[in-house]
Symmetry: C2
Subunit: 419 residues, 2 copies
Amino acid sequence: MRDLEPEDFELLERIRSNFIEVTKIFGFKLMEPSPIELLSTLEAKSGPAISNEIYYFKDKAGRELGLRFDLTVGLTRFVASRRDLQLPIKLCSFSSMWRYDEPQFGRYRWFYQWDAEIFGSKSIEADAEIIELTNMIFDKLGLKNCIIEIGDRKVVEEYVRREMKTNDERLILDALRALDKVKKKTIQQIIDEYADKGINESIMSKIIEFGNLRGKPDDIINSLKEQGLQNLDNLIRLTESLDTRGMKNVLLSMGIVRGLDYYDGIVFEVFDEKNTDIGALAGGGRFDSLPAVFDRPDLAATGVAGGVERIAIALSKMGKAKSEELSLIYVAYANKDFIKPATRLASELRKNGIRVEYDLSGKNLKKQMEVASSLNAKYVLILAPREYSQKKIVAKNMINGTEVQIRIDDIVSLLKANV
Amino acid sequence: MRDLEPEDFELLERIRSNFIEVTKIFGFKLMEPSPIELLSTLEAKSGPAISNEIYYFKDKAGRELGLRFDLTVGLTRFVASRRDLQLPIKLCSFSSMWRYDEPQFGRYRWFYQWDAEIFGSKSIEADAEIIELTNMIFDKLGLKNCIIEIGDRKVVEEYVRREMKTNDERLILDALRALDKVKKKTIQQIIDEYADKGINESIMSKIIEFGNLRGKPDDIINSLKEQGLQNLDNLIRLTESLDTRGMKNVLLSMGIVRGLDYYDGIVFEVFDEKNTDIGALAGGGRFDSLPAVFDRPDLAATGVAGGVERIAIALSKMGKAKSEELSLIYVAYANKDFIKPATRLASELRKNGIRVEYDLSGKNLKKQMEVASSLNAKYVLILAPREYSQKKIVAKNMINGTEVQIRIDDIVSLLKANV
């Protein structure tokens, strides 16, 4: 069983607060869909094959249930079922989920994602807002080398359909799946695999070459125009809108196609340019076809999900892992007669929002000082007979070693000003 | 499937941030134990009967797993397995869990708890610190009418053992269980139920009467002394320590015995005096015997868990449910030519941490103003031809209806000062 230990959780918490702060600025409402879904709901998107990759079971009433594998399905089910909601609606979530696949680097069976979706807007401005939101999430987190690679499944489909001279949807989907594998396999492996499925080798080569189109928006759009492609409106308007929003770290990439059962328009992924080996830190796009599965073909949808474990790795790698902690004050006592005044002082400081530790077990003063030092306390406040009889304590600055005497009545205000 | 909708989650988030703030002051480290445990781990505490009350299943490798039903078992398993940890250690967690029982008021199959534990200290000061922490959590949340009722299972056991003149552990446990039911059943029901189990009616009456001992610490301790009970040291030292910590809202109650497979010393529950019908909002105590189940009889343990759903009900009832939100600025445009400048302005404001909404779908100005009003925007900034040509916008104060013109370059600094 994997636990999220304090060091892991400190990072997770930083990623979480940053996410909550930024989504609030953009007007997203935080919620959490049920972690347990009917198996049929989870299969709705991806078909029964998904049950190989998730945890599922029967409850005591015989219902087939499964643990959620993402937050998008649950949020979509929620919005689809609630016809009373005013649209468009912006929802977000930060929580954990489960997949029953083989754990690998940065990938676990139990993991956290953040997720933000806009339901009920067909406008390309909604896609632009999702991408701007994503960018600000990474920017405020301090990951300044993030690149957003954007594709459009409709454009790729147009190209594939034309080159393959077919309307066989299965073959077209296969070709798109092949593109999704370019980063994981060699080109020859892919060509061989899909030759077996009936896709001609030279056509597959051309498609893979098309998938390698990647560069600045204007260059790629010109190149797509030169190839005679028609469905470029969305990409053109999207990149204009992102430019208006002041975003400079945008590339267009025809190799970005993403989860194929899911997305059906603009798609994008976020990479840390200095750590591309981690894989995409976040990804998203338009998925208008998913609400249709829940009887809401009228409901447009676009969104993004970020992988918390991978983002944590990226933060650690750039040395941004350590959060700023509240300074620690350690209250020590010279002997057991002073446990009670020490308790009273610690209690008083904590009531004033100051982070305080003191010994619960009756250690001698030397041991207490060692503990204070190991905890990186900023000051140790020592209660000792002579000073206490004068209503004072000794305050030792643990950084430079100096000691001063302070009147007990002044401690709170002095610390509030100095910690 | 129960979803935590935005209104629920706003409250949960407030309870969560408050918990994180207060536990930090007390030096607890936030973590999260695995949500899925081996079934044998979950049964370790409560025996196989627990499987009737939880979700459990076999994974694809045939292992018997269960969803956690609390955070204490996971945290204890974690600490018990990690002999490298420096003790005492203070850990806390805020997360969700599952129980497969019948949902009732304030009780769901999927629910959230906060949890804080101190491992490795046998000192009564650790119990006192847990209770002080609990008190500050409720105090800072604004629930000012909370009463902490404290019992000691060792004292109750001493009484029961003496009155029943038995060392039959099963009978003694039965009598304690009976006490735990006083709030849920009538006294006659309990007497009848336990008569069947072999506990004499007049003895049961005396035990229930003992369980009704409830009042100010000094009064109850005197009364326990008068009854000739011996094991009063812990209660005496605990109430002294809580007094030193400035806590006034403490009662001793011999009817508090709590989860019987679990606790073995000081136990306590927190009630909202104005809303006792909600039941205990939090409860805890010493559970030194649980680490022993994980091969660590050396590891002392004391802690507390709070029920987030019940606390949310208490907050709602006292009208403390509404959080303070960031003020909203709505950016509106007079016609579609101004969508781009509106987008640029919204983007600029958001980069400065200001919460902004604007229309994604091309509504006319009147509709935009209606939306702004329904969202309770504080100001609407209107981009219109004449003003825009002078590099100005119209700012409408939605509270008093006044309008002023503002230079576009001044908007950010003006809003930062006024929002």
